[in-house]
Each structure stands twice: as C-alpha cells, then as structure tokens.
Symmetry: C2
C-alpha cells in the first residue's frame, strides 16, 4: 500500500520502475506533459524522481478504451433484467429515464468513471442526454471521453429542430471547456429513430466541425427488415448515403451486418464497436460478424453498452465475452484469439476515437495500467495476454494512469466514497420520483 | 481491515452482525459445530461472541459450488489457447500432462482452492489424476469437494484393470481421511473413452459404496455421432444402460443432448453441469439445452471446467456467461434469469454433490459468503441478485466461510503467498520438464 498520496496530484516526472511488459522488465518515465518520456530496460536509471511506482510483480498494459456506452445508465444497473426488449424499454427503462435530471447524469457518469478507472479503462465513447453534465463528470474524473448527444427526431420536424440545437449546444460547450481529454461527437441515434433529413444534418455538422460520429447500427433483425421495407436499402447503406460512414464513425453493435455492408464499412474506414454482453443479454439473435469485418479490413473495437443492458463496464469481462462469443457463433476456437481481443480494447479503440494512446512507446500519451501478478488469475504467468483476456477481471488492475495523471494506485481512487454515495442517492431519488409518477 | 487474525482459527460461536439478505438486515450465528445456529433480525442479540464479523454494507449469499472442474489444471492456465480441439489436446495439453506429478496436482489444486475461496466458491466436483494429492490440498484449504479419478480405459483390458485399481485406491484413501468435507465419487470419463465393461464396473462400484458419479456427456457433436454409429444409441442412453444415470450423477456439458435425452435425465433425477465458458472457448457448436432440461425437470448446475479451457474458476463470471449464452442461444432474453443463474451455482449445486448447504437457514452448514456493497458493481443496489450475477466478479467477495470456518475475511486468505509461490514453481518446472522431453 503506497503512503505516497501526493502521487495523485503530481505533474512532475514519474517513474514506473521495473514493470513487466511483453515478457521484459522495463522502466516507464512519464513526463510532466502527460506523455511517455522513455520506456525500456533501465530507462529510468540515473535520474531522481519525486514519485516512483514500484512495478515488481506488475504487468504493464495500455489503458483500455470503451467505444460504446451510455455512462449515466449506471444508475439503472440491476433495475430491470431478463425481459423482452420492448416491455423492458417501454415499461421499465423509458419511464425511469423520463425523470432523469442533469444532476442524475452527472452522478451516473461519475459512477461510470469510477468503475472504469477501477477496472483499467482510460477513455470511452458516450451517448446520452444532459451531456454537459456528463462532460463535467469526465473532466473531474480525469478520463478521456468522446461525448455525443443522442439525436432522435422520429421524423418530427419540431423534434428535429430541438435535437439540432441540443447537439450544437453540446459541441459548443465541449469546445468552451478546452479540455484536451474531452471531445464532442455527433450522435445520430440510429436509422430507425432519425429521419433522412436528420442524418444529413448530422453528417454536415460532423464534417463542418471535424467531429466523430457515434451511431447504433444493425443491432436487431427488425431494424434491418424495417429499413429494407421502408427504403429498399439496408442500414449501412442509409448511413453511407447520408455521408455518415467515414474514418471517424463508430457504429455500435453491427450484429446483422451482411457481407456487403462489412465491405462497405471496410472501404469507408469506419469502425464497428462490438458489444457482446449486451447483445447476448438482449438476445439480438446474431453475433457481430467479426470474421467478415476482419476480412473486409474494417476496424473493430469493444464496448460494454450501458449498465442497464450488461450490467458491468469492466472491459476485461467484455474482452473474454467477445472472444468466447465469436468462437461459439462461428464455430471455430481460433477466431478472435486473446491478442486480438486485447487489441480491440486498446490500439484499435484509441484510434477509433481519435485518441493517440493505446501504444506503449515514447511520445505516446501515458495512458497505462498495471495488473497484479501475485493473485490467482495471473498465476501461473505463462502468458500475460491470455491471463488478461481469459482469466482476470478488472479487479486485477492496481494502477491506472490517464494522460500521465495517476487516477488509481494500489486500488485507491481518491474521492471514491463521495461518488458511491452521490450515485446511490441519485438512483434512489430517481426511482422514487418515477414511482410517485406511476 | 480486521485486526482479528484469530478469526481464521476459531471454532467457537461466531456472529455475522447486520448483513443484508433478501433485502433485510439479519444476524447470522455460526455454531461451534460449523452450522448456522440462528439467522434472523437481531438473532445475535443478547449473547457475547469471541469473534464478530461486522456485516454493515455487506450482502450475504450462500457459498457457491462448482460442479465440474479439473482443479489442478490451474497450472496450465494460459499455456495454450485459441486452437482447434485436437491439436490443442494432442500438441499442447497432453504432452504437458504426461509430465504431471502428485506434487504438481497438490500445488495446482491448492491454487484452484485459493482462487475459489477468493471468489466465493466453497465446494467443487473434481476429476483428474493423482487425486490423493488433490484430497490433501482440499483438506488443507478447508473447502468441500467430491473427488473422482478420471477413469479412461480406451477399451484396453489391461488399462481397465489399472483404472479400476486407481479408482478403488482413491475411494479407500478418501474413506481413511474421514474428513466430512471430502467425498469420493466414481469418474468414468465419458462414453467415448470408457468401454461398456468399464462403465458397468463404475456403476457397480458407485452403487456398492453409495458414491456419486462424475462423467462427461454430449460435449461435442462428434461424441454423439460416434456413439450412434458404434452402438445405435446416444450417449445418455449408454450411460443409462450401464446404470450410471441416477440422482447422484453429475454429467458435465450436455451441449448436444436431444429432447429425449433431456427427458431421460429428468426421469432419472440426474444433474447436468453447464460449463458455458469452456463450451464457447472450445466452440462445441451448440449450447446446453437449458430450456429443454428445465421442462424435463432435470437438475442443472454450473461448472467452470478446468483452467486450461476457461481460464478462470470464478463462478460469478460463469453465472453471467451462462445467463448470457442461454439467452443468446435460444434467442429469448427471459431464459435463465438472474435468480435462476444464482440457484444453479448454489442450492442446485450443493444438492447435486450431496452437500447439505446452499440454504441460509438454521441447521444448515455455515457455507456462506459476504459481498462488498461499497463498490461500483454493487452501486446502486436495486437488486443484490442481479448485481451478483450480471455486474460483479468474484472480486466483490470479502469473506468466505465453509462449514463454519472462516477461509477468507476482508479479502485476506491465510497462506495465500505460499500457495502462489508453490504453484508458480510447479508450473515452471512442469513446462521445463516437458520442453526437455521434446
């Protein structure tokens, strides 16, 4: 247990001494600009450091990135499960969400950030409401995030006007924050909830402001069938026609993509965020076609979806579930091996959101995590990558750095109790307001 | 953090004060005979206790039971993954296993027991080799186990004779231990590895000695096809003809059971141990038909399989994977809800192995665990059962009791470091011996 509480505040150079990485023992020097100043055998030797993290018995990995979630839905964790999708949404989730306030979103996002820090996630791709409150939570928690307002117009021009203003409001608010860890994205919810005009407006704004796009795509068979019936075209083609399919697009789910859509996504350089636990829990009926997307050269990443449909934000669990589901769905144990599962949650995910981390090399942001090895899930240590993906949960993470700042060390996250209390209070009050309404 | 290290040694009455169970705050009094002396609101009031565990902010659950594993295979964790079944076995697993010693099995089983204690599992159903060494490890670790020698004769009479002697040897050795937590079972490996004569001999010994049966059943499509081709009958019928399908039988996997086999298992009162992570990782091609087994009234339980094919022994992960896989496989989010997933790992599993725990009531063995609630996976606490199954890993467990003995408290397991060192040394030496041989 460290006694060095100053480690959470320091901006001076920091040494991670003797951590295990790729079967070698290396030092990592974190510069005062939040990047990796040096990494390598004895790279820290010959200098004095105000703060040293002893890495003996620790595995070094890049910090993980969650490419699809609705962070504030942590407040709904365990509120309703094991139901058919429509009654689950209409009877349980939407009535509660109707009572959400900006304060709720702040506390729900703080709770999500705490869970992510504690399980080794350093950044995420979020879509929800009251996103200025989410931005404040991310700012305070010290993580990276790409934040989008969930644009839903249901083909109603008046609603569309409202959604356009809300989207612009978030983009401007994030610009005003000038926090290099926080970016805005445009969040057209899906082709079945946003009109053609709405999709075009979103594409235009993303292009004009140089922003990413966060969208749901081909999650259910119904979504695809409805699109084909209404327009004669499948959802990926509709996004592409609107100009929404490009290198800065993250499309979540993709369960029902066909081969042509996989090729289209690959050609456009877009990303599909795989969310295996949510897809299995809600029984989407088909696994995202990872082999076809890989053949097409599309970028694939990992997300947890919101805590109402998972119900965890621990990407270690998600890496394992992804590897297991893909093997099972395509009947081949060689599909999505451990090192690819780790890549989906690290370098692929950082790149998809325009982050420059995910690589452990000099000059890259110091977004990194340490895992305990003196614990059953890392014993024996035949393969650190296999253990990380198949044996460990996020509970193996002892230390989390984002942009060079220590967010957790020896499993201590400063301020955790306040977040747990605030989020508990917000969740109880939310349910109570919804009950009063019923 | 408790300062009360005597708590690990005490046999005197122990009070768990103010734990949360079924949304109520209760006391649990553990008697010096290892059973629950009293449970209820203020049940501990008015007496003095040498040792008190403060339960505020802790959820009480029955200890979990793992109904199919090969515990010592922890030594092979992460040694080989993501391969087709045959080369995985023939090129990686079997060559290593050929070098196993009794000492290896002792350390591998100690490591498995440590992992189980740390993740809230109080008992398990084991099948492997050098099982006297496994029995010694279980005895020292303080868990419950039903231990079977993996009987494989490959229709060779000489081999069969050897397997009969090894099986009897284990049964006698366990009887001599006279440890009420440890029982022997008969372990005919599977219908494709044991001759008809071998199956009959196993059934006869199980009947004569009043012991359980632990067998693999219908794991792969090939197993079923081969049985039908060779005998005209499916594997469950072959077990039944040999007299191996009864109330004390635990058949692992069951992925390829058809409806008639599910009904037969239900009629015989036998148990099927679901091992979803292993089945998905090895791509067995079909999920165990839980809905059909449930309709047939068969008992279903949960297992992790060995750490080479999972690679974790954390039943919290397995509960979630089971619930997710069953929903996905049968395309229905209402299949295997959270409370059933918990039952599979608790009361159903205790009963399947002839243990009398799994229920939290006076007179039952004090096999119980406490979960931390001041942690993200249990925040908010809309449903303790949903959080246990869908949000938490075994890392949420702070305290584990088996037969009234405290095996872990505040996440401290006495002797853990020695086990991690011993198992690491054994694993490294094993790989080195196998390399020297190659």
């Amino acid at each position: 247990m460290t006694q060095d509480t100053g480690i959470f505040e320091t901006r001076s150079p920091l040494l991670l001494r003797g951590v295990c990485h790729n079967d070698r023992i290396v030092d990592v020097v974190v510069g005062d600009d939040g990047t990796i100043a040096a990494i390598g055998e004895n790279a820290g030797r010959g200098h004095e450091y105000d703060h040293v993290i002893e890495g003996r018995g620790r595995v070094l990995l890049p910090g993980l990135v969650n490419t699809h979630t609705h962070a504030a839905m942590t407040l709904l964790r365990g509120y309703a499960d094991d139901m058919l999708l429509q009654p689950w949404l209409a009877e349980r989730i939407w009535p509660l969400e109707a009572h959400l306030t900006g304060d709720d979103v702040y506390w729900g996002t703080r709770l999500a950030c705490l869970e992510m820090v504690a399980t080794g996630t350093v950044g995420f791709n979020d879509m929800y409401f009251f996103m200025e409150s989410a931005a404040r939570a991310v700012d305070e928690a010290g993580l990276r995030a790409q934040l989008s307002y969930g644009f839903i117009d249901l083909s109603d021009p008046e609603k569309r006007e409202h959604e356009c203003r809300a989207t612009e409001g978030l983009v401007d608010a994030v610009a005003r924050m000038a926090n290099p860890r926080i970016t805005a994205a445009i969040g057209p919810h899906a082709v079945y909830t946003v009109s053609a005009e709405g999709l075009l407006w979103c594409a235009e704004l993303a292009r004009k402001r140089g922003l990413g796009v966060h969208v749901h795509l081909a999650e259910t068979e119904t979504e695809v069938a409805d699109a084909v019936r209404a327009t004669g075209r499948r959802p990926a083609a509709l996004l592409d026609e609107a100009g929404l399919l490009g290198p800065r697009t993250v499309a979540a789910h993709g369960c029902w993509l066909d081969d042509a859509e996989c090729r289209l996504i690959g050609e456009r350089g877009a990303t599909v965020s795989h969310n295996p636990a949510s897809n299995m829990k809600l029984a989407t009926g088909r696994a995202m076609p990872y082999p076809a997307l890989k053949r097409a050269g599309a970028r694939v990443t990992l997300g947890t979806d919101g805590a109402a449909s998972n119900n965890s934000l621990d990407l270690f669990g998600e890496m394992k579930t992804a590897a297991l589901l893909q093997k099972f769905a395509w009947n081949d144990p060689t599909v999505l091996p451990a090192h690819e599962a780790l890549a989906l949650a690290t370098d692929c995910a950082h790149a998809a959101l325009g982050f420059t981390g995910g690589r452990l090399e000099a000059g890259a942001p110091a977004d990194l995590i340490l895992l305990e090895t003196r614990t059953p899930c890392n014993t024996p240590l035949h393969s650190a990558v296999s253990n990380a993906v198949y044996a460990c949960s996020g509970a193996a993470v002892t230390t989390t750095l984002c942009a060079g700042r220590v967010l957790m060390h020896e499993r201590v996250v400063p301020g955790a109790d306040e977040v747990l209390e605030g989020a508990t209070g917000a969740a109880i009050a939310l349910v109570s307001r919804a009950r009063g309404d019923a």
